[in-house]
Amino acid sequence: MTHPANPVASDAETAATQYLTVNLASEEYAIDILAVREIRGWTPVTRIPQAPHYVLGVLNLRGAIVPVLDLRLRFGLQREEYSATTVTVVVTVAGRLFGVVVDAVSDVLDVQADGVRPVPDMGTAVDTEYLKGLTSVDERMVLLLDVDKLLQPQDAQMLEAALPAVTEVKAVA
């Protein structure tokens, strides 16, 4: 398992980073292309128990079991019908794969490092916590997603799910 070089390092070197832009609720988001493993059409997934509501389930990515989360639900938006253009973007964060369901993929962008502005705390649909910054391309605003944070176990729900395992350890010891 050879891991590619650290994306942050390459960012510093080339100053221009490639991003994959996706559409979600009439806004355009960008995912660091090096975090993307694969883009695939939407297919139904297998539900898994005790998962947060935004984790739709798992899918079979060439033999690997990959959890899939719905970005709309993750951002607290209403889920719309999964259509023909609905797409699952498989990203890899810290060696783990997971799928992100978005409305559509649109393009690959080259973003210059100096073109990225910090996110003002304003009325985007998404909690600014998950954003690295924003940039504009041809008058369009593109929000840069911080995919690392998408599957962080900071939710109370996940904590709750993990807790019983801890109490069990005590019982044994």
Binding site: T46, I48, N60, V166, V172
Partner: protein
């Protein structure tokens, strides 16, 4: 780790090979100890030599020089300049251990040398009548005695599984003098990834007492191969013989800890025959595929029979290919068994018992994953057997047995399982003590009417350890229950047969592989779940009147004279659209964690072999689910974990 990627790959291979070489050295040395012939010396020498060469090539000069010392000694023995004797064998064995430690550290990217290696190197040199390299000797000297000691103790993740309790070690240390203990939590993983059966902590202990290094080492004697241990004189008091581990290294170690699971995915050495067979199969597969391809171009119903034939062939080849690929993962159990001669030798010496180890079925093959995990429970069982299974020579004589006790390890295939037996001809289980303890613990009310099997079962209960059998070697409160838990994690079972005065036999039954299980596909609403076939007792259809609801919301039904709780899978997993009326669905009676329950599902869809995929690789552990598999249509189905479901159900009820 400044090496480039390409070299790192070769290093990996070198380490794998060298570890095997070390194993060979060890077993040969042990054979030599038992009076083996001179050829063994050659074998050992060759192994040492190739390690030395490799180490020099791949950038491990420390290792090369260390091995050189050992090689020199061996050369003398080989050349007949020196007769082989116990001290030499002892020293060489320790050298092997040292080298193992070096390889571990090399893999972890740590400095190769440590106090122990310096010590051993010094002893090797001394053996050959030369002075050890100055620094090392000095280090050793200084290391032998100090005013105060800094002990860095980082247990390996699996140490707890071996029945070793770090707290006990620290308490023991406290017996030597005043302690200042600092916990190192850097390796503690995120809560979601926390495996409670593993140890994630490390301790930095300052012992303010002028004790000898050997005394401190004695405390950790039992765990030295299961932890990273550094014992250093406190810098203020003595000259630092070696640089203390840098903080960066600790951080790296922490990183290694998080990747502990991935560390398992090492390489496997495969015989050419197996690969040739596979190549043949793949060739066949390609031919079949080409044949089927012609149908795509022009389809003619008259050639339907040919198509059918092609598909049959394709299915057969795929199956054979699967079998042979699975076969690649199959390794002989010898690599586990080979650990034991050494262990037995050390233990018997320590306890003053005479033990003869017999190994059978070393060539029995089993899955690499299983192989890696079977070691710890077996070590535990062997320790147990030597510690309080076998008696001292005096007692044995009194009982009319020969002084030499026999410990037998046996492995063989039975059905789709591999059976590993650890048997001794010792005293057997002390029924009275076990029953007494069980009553004291409130596990049972009285020992009357209990069968021997039932008494045997008692020792597998959590935290069970009788006062009489507790020694410094085993029985530290964490006992057979851990063995059982480990074995059942592998999908296996462990049982005991014992005859007072004649010995006991522990039988571990394991699936050949963890990668494929036989399971029934059960439907629950729209979902499909795999229930492992091994845990299924029977499937029954219940009438509503057969169901009894007890206070607290639980449902029970009668099955073969006992009342079993009903677990509604759709409730536990929150599935939509499942059947609710008990008479519409099916109750699968399953056994997990020693208890039976009825699993209520909509119905059974079919039986299939499921290739087990881990959910944890990309997600996390899910209670009640042991993994996932991919169905014929490419969709994913979850594999139920019966024991986990029972625990989940219990918690639901309590909540």
């Amino acid at each position: 780790m400044s090496s480039t990627g390409g070299l790192a790959q070769f290093q990996q291979v070198f380490i794998e090979e060298s570890l095997e070489g070390l194993d060979t050295m060890e077993s040969s040395l042990l054979a030599l100890d038992d009076g083996g012939d001179g050829e063994l010396v050659h074998t050992i020498f060759r192994a040492a030599h190739s390690i030395k060469g490799g180490a020099a090539t791949f950038g491990f000069p420390e290792m090369a020089s260390f091995t050189h010392e050992a090689e020199s000694l061996l050369d003398e023995v080989r050349g007949g300049k020196r007769a082989i004797d116990k001290p030499i064998v002892e020293l060489l064995l320790r050298s092997v251990d040292c080298l193992r430690g070096m390889f571990d550290r090399a893999r972890a990217g740590q400095p190769l040398n440590d106090a122990t290696s310096d010590d051993v190197r010094g002893e090797l040199a001394a053996m050959m009548g030369r002075a050890a390299p100055a620094a090392a000797v000095q280090g050793r000297r200084a290391g032998d005695q100090a005013e105060a000691w800094i002990i860095r103790f980082h247990p390996h993740a699996g140490m707890l599984a071996g029945g070793n309790d770090p707290l006990r070690l620290i308490r023991e240390l406290a017996g030597l003098g005043e302690l200042a203990v600092e916990a190192d939590l850097s390796r503690l993983p995120a809560l979601a990834k926390l495996d409670p059966s593993e140890c994630h902590m490390g301790w930095s202990i300052e012992l303010k007492a002028p004790v000898r290094r050997e005394d401190i080492k004695a405390v950790f004697d039992w765990v030295e191969d299961e932890c990273d241990l550094a014992i250093e004189p406190k810098p203020s008091a003595v000259v630092t013989p070696a640089a203390p581990p840098a903080p960066a290294n600790i951080a790296e170690a922490a990183a290694r800890g998080t990747r502990e699971a991935n560390a398992d995915s090492g390489s496997v050495r495969v015989s050419i025959d197996k690969i040739d067979g596979m190549i043949n199969l793949v060739g066949e597969l390609v031919i079949t595929q080409a044949m089927l391809d012609t149908f795509r171009e022009e389809f003619d119903p008259s050639r339907l029979a040919l198509l059918q034939h092609g598909l049959t062939q394709l299915a057969r080849h795929a199956r054979e290919l699967q079998e042979s690929v699975m076969g690649i993962r199959m390794l002989p159990i010898a690599s586990v068994f080979n650990r034991f001669p050494r262990l037995v030798r050390d233990l018997s010496q320590k306890l003053g018992k005479q033990v003869k180890l017999e190994l059978h079925g070393e060539q029995t093959e089993l899955d690499k994953t299983v192989l890696e995990k079977i070691g710890d429970p077996m070590v535990h069982l062997v320790r147990n057997a030597i510690d309080h299974g076998l008696e001292t020579p005096q007692k044995r004589r009194a009982a009319g047995k020969s002084d030499m006790g026999t410990l037998k390890l046996d492995a063989y295939h039975r059905g789709g399982n591999i059976v590993v037996e650890v048997s001794d001809d010792g005293a057997g289980l002390n029924r009275g003590a076990i029953v007494g303890k069980a009553i004291e613990r409130g596990l049972i009310r009285s020992g009357e009417g209990l069968s021997d099997e039932a008494v045997g079962e008692l020792i597998f209960q959590p935290g069970f350890s009788t006062a009489e059998v507790t020694t410094d070697l085993s029985g530290r409160g964490v006992g057979m229950d851990v063995v059982r838990r480990n074995v059942s994690d592998l999908g296996g079972t462990v049982t005991i047969r014992s005859k007072p005065g004649q010995g006991s036999v522990f039988t571990i039954t394991l699936p050949l592989t963890l990668a494929i299980i036989d399971g029934l596909t059960a439907a629950v609403g729209q979902e499909r779940y795999i229930v492992p076939l091994v845990s299924i007792v029977e499937s029954v259809q219940l009438k509503p009147e057969a169901l009894k609801t007890v206070v607290g919301g639980g449902e029970l039904f009668r099955f073969r004279g006992e009342y079993l709780p009903v677990l509604r899978l759709h409730e536990l997993f929150g599935c939509d659209g499942a059947k609710r009326a008990i008479e519409d669905g099916l109750v699968i009676v399953v056994e997990g964690d020693g208890s039976r329950v009825g699993l209520f599902v909509d119905g059974l869809v079919g039986q299939q072999q499921a290739v087990v995929k881990s959910l944890e690789t990309n997600y996390r552990r899910v209670q009640g689910v042991s993994g996932a598999t991919i169905l014929a249509d490419g969709s994913v189905a979850l594999i139920t974990d019966i024991a986990g479901l029972v625990r989940l159900h219990g918690r639901r009820k309590a909540a």
